[in-house]
Amino acid sequence: MLEFFMRLFRGEDQSKHVAKERLRLVLVQDRTSLSAQALEALKEDLIAVISKYLEIDDSGPEVVLERDGESIALVATIPVKRAAGVARAGR
């Protein structure tokens, strides 16, 4: 009973949040004609390029397309350990 009320008031596992998140992703794919696989490949290429200059924390790179009304932005969050690779990259 308590659990029922907790769920009712807190609403963490409300299915509408799942719906909204899924819609967000699928609409970005529809609008850019970029599949989830292509996005993954893009992410790997980005990481490969950036690794030439910076040491990346493997645990956390995230590359997503975000939609804000009409415009779509590519948002990459790539945690850096340190910029030790810069000299090696030939600058």
Partner: protein, 271 residues
């Protein structure tokens, strides 16, 4: 001055395009406008039965376009409302029996005689959809608060814009306040945020619509149901009036309890 040609479309089937077209047409006629409803769903005509006019069809849209019937002879006059007419689709023809150019000419001809020409689009994005939008100046997109319908509405928005029908307006159909309150249905703000198009109105899921459709009477004619009120509000907005969005929250004991203990969630905006 020529009338407004508005296409009612959705992409996905079964979200209530035809019911919406019937009710907006009847609602506009109730305000004294001259309205022609055009069923552009060739081969799958439905608007006639939703309007209860199926027994009065003599000629159809394809026969008019092909020159086998005169437009004035094909138009069915609604006996309930002055100024409301239907141009039925052909039932035994293929969708490609009509071209977009022919639809454009037909809509232009109708717009000379009517204040509003409402074109009921078939589902899909193929030939029938292209025909339905060909002669339109404005577009109304109907969706329901479901993932598949919202996705298709977004796709349709893009296609409309590519065809110079920018700024389509949105009707969210079949919203269920109780499910919204539980968080098990996308609410109006969610849908608007995702689609980023202007809201024209919200129609609650209402059994009275099924009853009205059984009888072949647009629910808007029947008075005091929430759905009828919602359609009347939408019609006034189409006419350019600013009508506030009414609350479609029900006064159930749960919401009263929740308000009592101060846990009332955001009200369900609506209609």
């Amino acid at each position: 001055m020529a009338g407004r040609v508005i296409v009612i479309t959705s992409g996905k089937g079964g979200v209530g395009k035809t019911t919406t077209t019937a009710n907006l047409g009847a609602g506009l006629a109730m305000l004294g406008r001259r309205v022609c409803l055009v069923d552009a769903d060739i081969g799958l005509r439905n608007l006639d039965v939703v309007m209860g006019l199926e027994n009065r069809i003599v000629y159809d849209l394809v026969e008019v376009v092909e020159g086998h019937a005169r437009l004035r002879n094909a138009l069915i006059k609604d006996k309930r409302l002055d100024g409301l007419f239907l141009l039925p689709a052909a039932q035994t023809r293929e969708k490609d029996a009509v071209t977009p150019e022919q639809m454009k000419a037909l809509c232009a001809q109708l717009a000379e005689e009517f204040d509003y020409v409402l074109v009921d689009s078939p589902a899909g994005i193929e030939h029938g959809f292209r025909n339905a939008i060909a002669g339109a100046h404005e577009a109304i997109i109907v969706t329901t608060p479901e993932v598949a319908a919202v996705r298709d509405a977004d796709r349709i928005t893009g296609l409309l814009e590519a065809n110079e029908l920018s700024n389509p307006k949105l009707i969210i159909n079949r919203i269920r306040p109780q499910m919204v309150r539980r968080g098990d249905m996308l609410d109006i703000d969610d849908v608007i945020e995702i689609l980023a198009i202007e809201l024209l109105g919200v129609v609650p899921d209402d059994e009275s619509i099924i009853v009205a459709t059984n009888r072949g009477e647009p629910v808007v004619l029947g008075g005091h149901t929430k759905a009828a009120q919602a359609y009347r509000n939408i019609v006034r907005r189409i006419e350019g009036e600013e009508v506030p969005f009414m609350q479609i929250e029900e006064d159930g004991w749960m919401s009263r309890l929740r308000n009592l203990v101060g846990l009332g969630r955001k009200k369900v905006r609506g209609a």
